[in-house]
């Protein structure tokens, strides 16, 4: 392939140097290129939020970004939040409150909430509803997710 891009990026603290097709979406690069399949693709038009990752600490839609656009930047995906044996308090809270059913939208909620909770350590229910209104979930009706966020806020402070 003659048209390629030499991408340099840090993901979850690890440095990667990869040769990529310049039009590859960040979501596909993370999932297929790096094997980090925790970031999910629900719509590829920026509406559902399942593909949300953190770019230099801010929540973005990886389905709307080309991989070369994150050259020399820092990404965090859900895999960087915690492990099966060492869940982050936010992940613990989701589990306790039964805030996930099929789990497909969950990584996007977690990455969206992480920076938001840091800035809003004591949110009201209305504030939480608005904060997650850009993430779609078809299974839970959002109620247990809101419970989880309240619980997480307590755990994290």
């Amino acid at each position: 392939m003659d048209n390629t891009f030499e991408l340099s990026v840090i993901v979850n603290g690890t440095s990667y140097q990869e040769t990529v097709d310049p039009r590859i979406l960040l979501s596909d690069f993370l999932r297929d290129g790096l094997g980090l399949t925790g970031t999910h693709v629900g719509c590829e038009h920026g509406v559902c939020g399942a593909c949300t990752v953190l770019l230099n600490g801010a929540a973005v839609r990886s389905c709307l970004i080309f991989a070369p656009q994150v050259h020399q930047q820092e990404i965090m995906t859900v895999e960087g939040l915690g492990t099966v044996d060492d869940l982050h308090p936010l992940q613990e809270a989701f589990r306790e409150a039964h805030a996930l059913q099929c789990g497909f939208c969950t990584p996007g909620f977690l990455t969206t909430l992480l920076p938001w909770l840091e800035e809003n350590p004591n949110p009201t229910e209305d504030e939480i509803r608005e904060a997650i209104s850009g993430n779609l979930c078809r299974c839970t009706g959002y109620q247990h997710i809101i419970d989880a966020v309240k619980l997480a806020a307590e755990k994290m402070n």
Binding site: F94, G103, F104, R138, G141, Y142
Partner: protein, 780 residues
């Protein structure tokens, strides 16, 4: 000491992997040497194909092949019929037409697949799809449910002389006689539309044919891996042991991921066997709107005969149901509508005629609710209208008509979707109804809050709707439970999991039966290598049918444990107890043996085995109910509508649900919340807009609106428990309950909120635009 864990709010064992991005969904499957498929789909809903030019597509570097129906040769055949009409019904007209892998001659709905490209990457495959040129002869599209049955109308299927897919009549008692006694006969024509399931995960399939071992491995985001395995093996001329289908974690099913034998499920196995390389296809969201099944329109002419006290004397109904271009799933949805058109009421006379018609749109198969919401909608609306006409209190009329609690099992005599007579197994409607009225503070709202808020210029209204839900239908499911030498339990069942928490709630059943921790039970659902027989996850049946199979298998293992332990410990069985992974003598706690040790002893390497003993501590059992378990409930809502923007805000939402024994209340609540969110979507935000060319005009999440957290109210869930008499767990299904009564509750509440407008709502969905039209028109 008895160990109780059924009914507890146990944390899910599957969560840590899902929360850390470590759970396998079909899109995550990545195999060496894998190819990617992309499909050329028809833009036209109805058109003859004059020619297909794939020459340019084939030239793109990285493209391995481009195939059409012609290339499939003898391997080309339509999908299998999945559900036939009930053999127990007489005089049924049923014209079976099923979807095809790749279109030959004529396209019958927009999105049908005309060609498939296989390439080294998805990106290259999609580039190649753009280079395919198809010459079409467009034809008029069949879209109108009523006009399409007129003689001379364009036909969807040329080999039929009609657009009629099915016709049947069901009858109970004598409606015409009942009508003669009526003080009031109401007639209304309803237009009911539902929508797409919109699971967050689109469909997908990965297939891998290994030439050397002559084995086909399939990962499929399906609700029914076992029928898929069976059907694929049959189509490919393979034995069932040559095909393994795994439904990994599936991101939401809601109906359309059932064993459809979608075109993609027919094309990909053919490709992998032809190319001898793994092939992957993951649907994108736009494709999902065209190519994944959905529910759409029903037109119903309903007649209800009542006494002046509001007692229902009879119901008569004509349903026209849109099945789309093909009808592989039989009559399931309209039969469900019939089963629910009498609601929870004692209706002695019922006559219902169903016409199912073909149109040039996507195939219709059940979406959460599966025809039940439409039945509940019309009966509740007719009662609301009757109350207005007769000047009666809507609560009194419900109370008057409920089937009384000593009348169960109550036989409605018509045939339901499970081919059995519609028998409501148990019920206790009145207390549930009173509880809902109490929790929503009905009296206080009507007498104090509503008048006060009206005086402030606010339009607030209340709606309370009772409903039933047929659940737990057969034919059967199976489960295998085994104690491993480690002392841990492994189990398997054939129902796939798309978020229903089977891995936890079924583990709870096993844990209680065998006295172990829930975390020590590892349950696999959705892998055909683990269990050979089963149907799938649909119709709110997992907990009832698979759950009871799990109980039966676990109980059998318990019997084997006790028998063997009794011998080893030289103690009678009734003095033994199972707790903490051990079998103990009741009053001599030191005298015990672990389950793991027993498992080893049950599978000796040497020595004689008593004749008639099965090795190990393992059991496989099946459960098949004679008829289903009828769950029921009541939803109440208070909403406010802005008379200028028509935007609504739900102030209070209350549900009382009775699904018999709950396996895990956290899970039940989650199912209710999720169901209500789909119900709210169906009532006020979601609509598939098709135009006269059967073109879908809103095929994206930006334009097809599902509720976000901002649209959802806080939902209060209250439980009642009327145990199901016909299964040992006493449990009933609850997966679809949340979605069923919502549109009817909306209609009642909106009419109640806007009394000055003389509004009569006999359609669904509504929307801000549509409500505006209805109000504006009713003012003129």
């Amino acid at each position: 000491m008895t160990y109780k864990v059924i009914g507890k709010r146990v944390k899910r064992v599957e969560d840590p992997r899902l929360l850390t991005g470590g759970a396998l969904f079909v899109g995550d499957v990545n195999l060496p040497n894998m190819l990617y498929a992309a499909f050329f789909r028809s833009d036209y809903a109805h058109a003859r194909i004059k020619s297909i030019d794939t020459s340019q597509a084939k030239l793109i570097p990285g493209v391995v092949g481009v195939y059409t129906a012609e290339d499939m040769g003898e391997a080309w055949e339509p999908g299998p019929p999945l559900v036939s009409p009930p053999p127990t019904l007489e005089d049924v007209v049923f014209n079976s037409r099923r979807q095809v892998p790749l279109v030959k001659d004529k396209v019958k709905h927009a999105g049908e697949i005309i060609a498939v490209v296989v390439a080294e990457s998805r990106y290259i495959a999609e580039d190649a799809v753009e280079e395919i040129y198809v010459d079409y002869e467009p034809l008029p599209a069949v879209t109108d449910l009523e006009k399409c049955l007129e003689p001379g109308h364009t036909l969807v299927h040329d080999d039929l002389d009609t657009n009629l897919a099915a016709h049947l009549v069901q009858n109970k008692g004598d409606y015409e006689a009942a009508k003669k006694e009526a003080d009031l006969v109401l007639k209304r024509k309803f237009k009911l539309d539902r929508g797409a399931a919109v699971a967050m995960e689109n469909r997908g399939i990965v297939v891998d044919w290994d030439q050397k071992s002559q084995h086909l491995m399939v990962w499929d985001a399906t609700q029914s891996p076992i029928p898929i395995r069976n059907g694929m093996a049959a189509r490919l001329g393979l034995r069932t042991h040559q095909v393994r289908v795994v439904a990994p974690f599936v991101g939401g099913g809601f109906g359309p991921k059932i064993m459809m034998f979608y075109a993609e499920e027919m094309v990909l196995p053919w490709l992998t066997m032809k190319l001898n390389r793994p092939v992957k296809w993951i649907e994108d969201r736009k494709e999902n709107f065209y190519a994944t099944t959905q529910e759409r329109e029903q037109i119903q002419e309903v007649e209800m005969a009542l006494s002046k006290e509001g007692r229902i004397l009879g119901i008569k109904q004509k349903i026209i149901h849109d099945t789309g271009a093909f009808n592989p799933y039989g009559l399931t949805t309209p039969l469900n509508t019939q089963s629910h058109s009498m609601g929870p009421y004692d209706v002695q006379n019922y006559n219902s005629e169903v016409f199912v018609v073909f149109t040039n749109k996507t195939i219709v198969t059940p979406v959460r609710g599966a025809g039940r919401p439409q039945g509940i909608y019309i009966v509740e609306r007719m009662l609301d209208i009757a109350c207005k006409d007769l000047g009666l209190d809507s609560r009194e009329v419900r109370r008057l008509n409920f089937i009384p609690k000593d009348a169960f099992p109550y036989n409605h005599e018509i045939i339901d979707q499970a081919f059995a007579e519609l028998v409501l197994d148990s019920g206790n409607y009145l207390p549930a109804y009173e509880k809902a009225l109490e929790k929503i503070e009905y009296e206080k709202f009507i007498k104090e809050d509503q008048p006060r808020l009206r005086a402030e210029g606010k339009y607030v209204g209340i709606g309370v709707v009772p409903f039933i839900e047929t659940t737990g239908v057969g034919p059967y499911e199976g489960a295998r439970v085994a104690i491993e030498p480690s002392g841990k339990i492994s189990a398997a069942t054939g129902v796939g999991t798309q978020g229903q928490s089977h891995m936890t709630s079924f583990a709870q059943i096993i844990a209680e039966e065998l006295g172990v921790e829930v975390e020590d039970v590892s349950l696999v659902s959705g892998d055909t290598a683990e269990i050979h027989w089963g149907t799938g996850t649909f119709a709110s049946r997992g907990a009832v049918v698979a759950g009871n199979a799990v109980l039966a298998a676990a109980s059998d293992v318990r019997k084997k444990v006790l028998k063997l332990a009794s011998k080893i410990l030289e103690t009678p069985e009734d003095e033994l107890e199972l707790d903490g992974g051990l079998v103990r003598v009741a009053d001599i706690p030191d005298k015990s043996i672990s389950l793991g040790e027993l498992a080893v002893l049950a599978n000796p390497f040497r020595g004689a085995v008593e004749p008639g003993t099965e090795p190990g501590l393992e059991s496989t059992k099946y459960f098949g109910p004679a008829y289903g378990a009828t769950a029921f409930g009541v939803h109440g809502m208070i909403l406010e509508v802005d008379p200028e923007t028509m935007m609504i805000k739900i102030h209070k939402y209350v549900t009382v649900e009775d699904c018999g024994t709950m396996l895990n209340p956290l899970v039940v609540e989650g199912q209710i919340h999720g169901g209500v969110s789909m119900g709210i979507g169906n009532a006020y935000y979601e609509k598939l807009h098709y135009d006269e060319n059967a073109q879908l005009l809103n095929a994206s999440l930006a334009d097809y609106l599902i509720p976000t957290s901002a649209e959802m109210p806080h939902i209060e869930v209250y439980h009642q428990n009327t145990p199901a008499p016909n299964n040992k767990l006493g449990t009933k299904g609850v997966g679809e309950a949340g979605a069923i009564p919502v549109p009817a509750a909306f209609a009642q509440a909106l009419e109640n909120a806007l009394p000055d407008f003389d509004l009569e709502i006999i359609e669904t969905p509504l929307s801000p635009n549509r409500l505006y039209e209805l109000l504006y028109k009713s003012e003129e």
